[in-house]
């Protein structure tokens, strides 16, 4: 198990280096002078030169890259151009809100997807199964930047049950979490149905039924547990979609997370903050994939002995 763990962690390091390199090169993709682009056309040459020096853009590229990597490892991602606040602390302030939203969205997705997927598999071919499939496809096709405003129209404006924006109580969390979790729920429901159907055909399930186990017991105690393995992998892989979706959902509902910070910093051309947000989200995603791989190895012994 330790060897499996070490190997997975070792494979992640070059990926993290590649991610950091790509994020570093973003600022150099800006057409023209990056410092001029950040300050705007009306900025004086002296201000542009000062910013170029402050960001290290007047140094050789390799030196800039080395400094960027060294500082990133230390947790120093520079300072916001607009507020002069360290990028790291600006992001850390917003992180709890994004984690709260992502966790709530995952809970919504699992709470909806697992029962729906099980029901669709157990009653395969019935109108319930067809309805579940259609609902799943709708969930995948309806963008969260449409679902969010629609939910706001119905539950906030028409019915007045829930607030439309901000963060504070659990009520503020409901609409953003449902909006963000819907697509994930649809994907998970489809996967749960497909994997459970495969398990239900396995001889051990038929044997359990032959030994007198009820249908419910055969499904829940035997088939469902084994069908969870690919579902766990999918949850890990879809976490990235949740993170990206959070960028849009936080914008719609004015949720004070990293996603909203990213969009605001793009609008202000605050590129150190843009770089910091992109790097943090990407590193979080890589870490989540690593955790998923390790969980997979833990749950399925065949994986760690390969």
């Amino acid at each position: 198990m330790l060897r499996f763990l070490a190997r997975r962690v070792a494979l992640t390091i070059p990926v993290l280096l590649g991610v950091a390199t790509l994020v570093f090169s973003l600022i150099h993709l800006i057409p023209g002078d990056p410092a001029q682009a950040m300050l705007g056309e009306s900025a004086s040459p002296e201000d542009v030169a000062e910013l170029r020096s402050r960001l290290g853009l007047d140094r050789p590229l390799l030196e800039q890259y080395g400094t960027f990597l060294r500082d990133a490892i230390r947790g120093d991602l520079g300072r916001s151009l607009r507020t002069s606040q360290p990028v790291t602390s600006a992001i850390l302030e917003r992180m709890p809100a994004t984690i709260e939203l992502a966790a709530a969205a995952m809970l919504v997705a699992l709470g909806f997807a697992i029962p729906l997927g099980i029901a669709a598999a157990v009653w395969r071919g019935t109108s319930l199964d067809h309805a579940a499939t259609t609902v799943s496809l709708l969930g995948i096709s309806i963008p969260n930047f449409w679902l969010g405003p629609l939910l706001a129209i119905v539950f906030s404006i028409e019915l007045g049950w829930l607030p439309v924006s901000g963060r504070g109580t659990w009520a503020n969390l409901v609409l953003p979490a449902v909006s963000l979790g819907a697509a994930l729920a649809a994907i998970l429901a489809r996967m749960t149905r497909a994997t459970l159907l495969e398990e239900l055909r396995e001889p051990y399930v038929i044997a359990a039924r032959a030994r007198g186990a009820s249908r419910v017991r055969a499904v829940v105690r035997h088939a469902f547990r084994n069908s969870l393995i690919p579902v766990i992998t999918l949850i890990g892989l879809q976490f990235g979609a949740v993170l990206t979706g959070a960028v849009i959902t936080e914008t719609i509902f004015s949720w004070p997370g990293i996603g909203r910070l990213l969009i605001q910093s793009i609008g202000f051309r605050d590129y150190p903050l843009v770089q910091g947000c992109i790097l943090l989200i990407a590193v979080t995603y890589v870490a989540m994939n690593l955790v998923t791989d390790l969980l997979y190895g833990l749950v399925d012994p065949r994986i760690r002995y390969e």
């Binding site: 790509l22 973003l26 496809l137 963008p143 449409w146 979609a241 993170l243 990206t244 914008t251 609008g267």
Partner: protein, 275 residues
């Protein structure tokens, strides 16, 4: 059945995009400020937006943008991805390692994040959206084709072609890549829906198509500030996006079932009768 519904939705949208704007009774840019934010009526089926522009005409015009982005992004992504994936899979070794590492790094960025970052630095425009989506889109095709080619290069007919003196480009083009085409076709169909959603998302965030060009995402963004007094600004563009993406998803699912030999086999009884 579902795939036929999907095909019908896609066909109607393509038709609407091609001839709709010329048949629409109103210019998508014409402003009737006195009637701004008016709801659906007999004259304006989808109502008017915040500048008094006919939403139905703008939805039709937006269909062109969405389909154009989808076609261009999928064409570039699938071509580049198929090429790089087949080179990686066929040659193996260091070439495969290098391409696979690039794929791993690009896949380390979740969903649209890298596209958001690229458009943020390059500047918001339709061209940059297409560029950004193509730069991240090829990765999925490359991984898919690489897997297919790894399998196909061991087939006997490929070895026979090699023994007969066929050049590597000929083997790739005439023997190996065609085996991956069914999977690429399914991926491309589903990818159309993905590209359309991605463009709409970027435009919604203000990073894609810029006003006054009608894009469904930009229209949805404009509707956000009028949820209370004019919800129709949000409903109709969103419905268009959902319907078209659903259509491509149905079509892609149907193609996958039709081209997957296991599913095809299940549709026949043991005596060969088709179910």
């Amino acid at each position: 059945m579902m795939s036929r519904i999907g095909a019908a939705i896609v066909f109607i949208t393509v038709l609407a995009a091609l001839i709709g704007p010329s048949l629409a009774p109103f210019d998508p840019s014409a402003q009737l400020l006195a009637q701004r934010l008016d709801g659906p009526s007999e004259m304006h089926w989808f109502g008017l937006d915040e500048l008094g522009r006919d939403i139905f005409a703008r939805v039709l015009a937006g269909a062109r943008i969405s389909l154009l982005v989808g076609v261009v992004v999928v064409s570039i992504s699938s071509t580049v991805g198929t090429l790089l994936g087949s080179i990686a899979g066929y040659f193996g070794g260091r070439i495969d390692e290098a391409i696979s590492r690039v794929i791993d790094i690009l896949l380390a960025f979740p969903g649209l994040l890298l596209a958001i970052a690229l458009v943020a630095v390059l500047g918001p425009s339709l061209a940059n959206v297409v560029l950004a989506l193509s730069l991240i889109g090829w990765v999925g095709y490359a991984r898919l084709v690489r897997g297919q080619v790894l399998r196909a290069r061991e087939f006997e007919f490929v070895q026979a072609a090699r023994a007969l003196g066929a050049t590597t480009p000929r083997i790739l083009a005439q023997h190996i890549i065609p085996t991956a085409l069914p999977a690429v076709t399914v991926q491309a169909t589903l990818g159309m829906g993905g590209a359309i959603l991605a463009e709409a998302a970027l435009s919604f965030l203000g990073l894609g198509v810029q006003p006054p060009t009608p894009s469904w995402g930009t229209m949805l963004n404009g509707g956000r500030t009028h949820l209370l007094d004019a919800p129709h600004l949000t409903i109709f563009p969103g419905l268009a996006i959902a319907a078209l993406v659903l259509g491509f998803n149905f079509l892609g699912d149907g193609l996958r079932d039709a081209l997957d030999p296991v599913t095809r086999q299940k549709r026949f009884l043991s005596d060969g009768t088709k179910i």
